[in-house]
């Protein structure tokens, strides 16, 4: 079991390493880079939504906090980019904690509304705080990340950086899901009362995973800022929060690989649909509807569920619940 899993991860890492060799096209590499950044965001949101069952419609805000903290500190104040990245993480975690304490007492629609409200406030801040953020026209001149003697300024170099981070985040998240707290998260999703009755402090656990997923979003934001060398508020609006939720749902709730798939499909799809011009949005919506109608738990989860259903229904001779 352990061996098979290591082989799977090794194979995935190998594919990632070989991909740019046969595909040295800057456009494709940039697209892959955005898939990587989106994957980090989606895995974090999936831990919160798919595993713990708590929705956030404000995740673009944490992404923005990371991006703007990195952008402002490096472009305006000349702070070391790596230090700025850490500052972004700290700020995002602090904000998530402050928002999470009251918001996570809410459930379902109410939690969605509370996080949505938070997302709107942060977005308005990005637009209005012109002195720091550059306002609606954005902030430019963000330097690239660099190591001594090596600057991540080409799509290929960024590919190496971003996908190393993405691979690390995927592995860390898979490890988390398959651990004591990962089980507690899934337990909380299925029955909060049963989880409480077994000594799980559900409120604290929700807060912990909310802060954790905000950290992922902030990391993705910093990588984003140093990839584009430019940030503008429109990248962190409500539509982007909704798009992230869609990536989680389409790829597969409670599935680490599903997050990668969801981020990949929904990052590539709009690019492919560009040829349909005005019909792009219509087709995009139609694809989402088809997935949701036939595989409501997403591509990866949905197919696994189908298999489980067939397999175990036969075995136990009946289905209840």
């Amino acid at each position: 079991m352990r061996g098979a899993r290591l082989a799977l991860w090794g194979g995935f890492a190998l594919v990632l390493a070989l991909l740019p060799l046969g595909w040295r096209n800057d456009y494709y590499l940039s697209l892959l880079n955005f898939i990587g950044i989106h994957t980090i965001l989606v895995v974090g949101l999936n831990l919160l939504m798919g595993y713990a069952g708590q929705i956030s419609l404000g995740h673009a805000a944490f992404f923005g906090v990371g991006a703007y903290t990195s952008g402002i500190l490096t472009a305006t104040y000349g702070v070391n980019p790596w230090l700025a990245l850490v500052a972004g993480l700290a700020l995002a975690a602090g904000l998530a904690f402050l928002i999470g304490v009251p918001a996570l007492k809410l459930r379902g629609y109410y939690l969605a509304m509370a996080t949505l409200g938070f997302g709107v406030i942060v977005y308005i801040f990005f637009v209005q705080a012109q002195r720091f953020t550059g306002g609606p026209s954005g902030l430019s001149g963000i330097p690239a990340l660099s190591l001594p003697g090596f600057t991540f300024h080409t799509p290929l170099r960024l590919y190496g950086l971003i996908w190393t981070a993405t691979l690390g985040i995927l592995a860390l998240s898979a490890g988390l899901v398959d651990s004591r707290l990962g089980r507690a998260l899934r337990a909380l999703h299925d029955s909060e009362v049963a989880a409480e009755s077994l000594g799980i402090h559900t409120q604290r656990l929700k807060l912990l995973i909310f802060v954790w997923s905000a950290l992922y979003a902030s990391l993705a934001g910093s990588l984003y800022a140093h990839t584009l060398n430019f940030v503008a508020p429109s990248s962190f609006d409500i539509m982007f929060s909704i798009k992230l939720v869609t990536m989680v749902v389409v790829g597969g709730m409670a599935s680490i690989w599903g997050s990668l798939l969801g981020a990949g499909v929904l990052t590539v799809l709009p690019e492919l649909l560009v040829v349909f011009h005005d019909f792009e949005v219509v087709l995009f919506g139609a694809i989402l509807m088809v997935v949701m109608i036939f595989l409501p738990r997403g591509l990866v989860r949905g197919l696994l569920d189908l298999w489980e259903y067939r397999h175990f229904r036969r075995e136990s001779g009946g289905v209840s619940g």
Binding site: L172, S173, G175, L176, D178, S179, R180, L181, G182, R183, A184, R186, A187, H189, D190, S191, V193, A194, A195, E196, S197, L198, G199, I200, H201, T202, L208, W212, A254, E308, F312, R313, E315, S316, G318, V319, S320, G321
Partner: protein, 260 residues
């Protein structure tokens, strides 16, 4: 009175109302160590409310609940569980999307300690802890006879096995006191008999049990002591034989033609 002689659980003058409805009024009783105590009563007598008060899902309006000499009333459910009180639910509450084994592994939560990062990194010590959790969970499954189903998703089990799984999960948390909320409801006769055997096995292993039950034959067979609730009040308490003959109990609950 020494600690060993003191009852494990003391419920003292506990009251709880929902709006104008007095679900429990001045209820007092004790659960001595190592016994099986049953709470019976007609529907709406306040049995489930009593369970929710003891396990921390509800707060009493008045009164005290002492577990091992400590006041626990009003503490949150996870804190009560941490003291060693485990429970099952009248409407089975399983983690349907997790496997049977994983359900029981969650039961080990309070006795293990891997945090977020240590758990995610699968450090050597957390790997050892995981292996121990797995082994102990498997042991609890064997005790209730579910080990052959370990890899199945819990949601697919038939109801009888779901109830057993809920008990196994509670047992995995190594409780001092186990609360069973109508464990036989929805079970057929053979399943109920198996449940009765399991309950007696648990008692033989030194566990103290408090159960709410509708199934009279099961209650009479396994219980050492019975407390009877009616309209939120305790109307009788004693060994099964005395309860069977108690006139108020017969009138309130069992019906005059119940006596064999």
């Amino acid at each position: 009175m020494s600690v060993a002689e003191a009852p494990l659980l003391m419920v003292s003058e506990v009251s709880r109302a929902f709006g104008g409805l007095k679900a429990l009024e001045g209820v007092s009783f004790a659960v001595p160590r190592g016994v099986i105590k049953a709470v019976i009563g007609p529907n709406g007598a306040g049995k489930t409310t009593l369970f929710h008060l003891i396990s921390g899902f509800l707060k009493p309006d008045r009164g005290r609940i002492l577990f091992q000499g400590q006041e626990i009333q009003g503490r949150p459910a996870h804190a009560v569980a941490a003291l060693g009180i485990a429970r099952t639910f009248q409407l089975v509450q399983l983690f349907d999307h997790m496997t049977v084994l994983e359900n029981v592994m969650v039961g080990r939560h309070r006795l293990s300690r891997a945090g977020l990062l240590a758990g995610a990194l699968h450090l050597p010590w957390t790997r050892r802890e995981e292996a121990a959790i797995r082994e102990q969970a498997y042991g609890a499954l064997e005790l209730v006879g579910l080990s052959s189903r370990a890899a199945q998703p819990a949601g697919f089990l038939p109801l009888g096995l779901k109830r057993l799984l809920e008990i196994a999960r509670a047992l995995a948390s190594e409780p001092t006191l186990l609360l069973l909320d109508e464990p036989a409801s929805g079970l057929d006769q053979a399943e109920t008999e198996r449940l009765g055997e399991l309950i007696l096995t648990l008692k033989a292993r030194g566990l103290t049990l408090l159960l709410v039950e509708h199934d009279m034959s099961l209650t009479m067979e396994v219980a050492d002591e019975i407390a009877v609730l009616n309209y939120g009040r305790l109307i009788a308490e004693g060994p099964p034989r005395a309860i069977q003959r108690h006139p108020e109990v017969i009138a309130a609950y069992l019906g005059s033609d119940w006596q064999e």
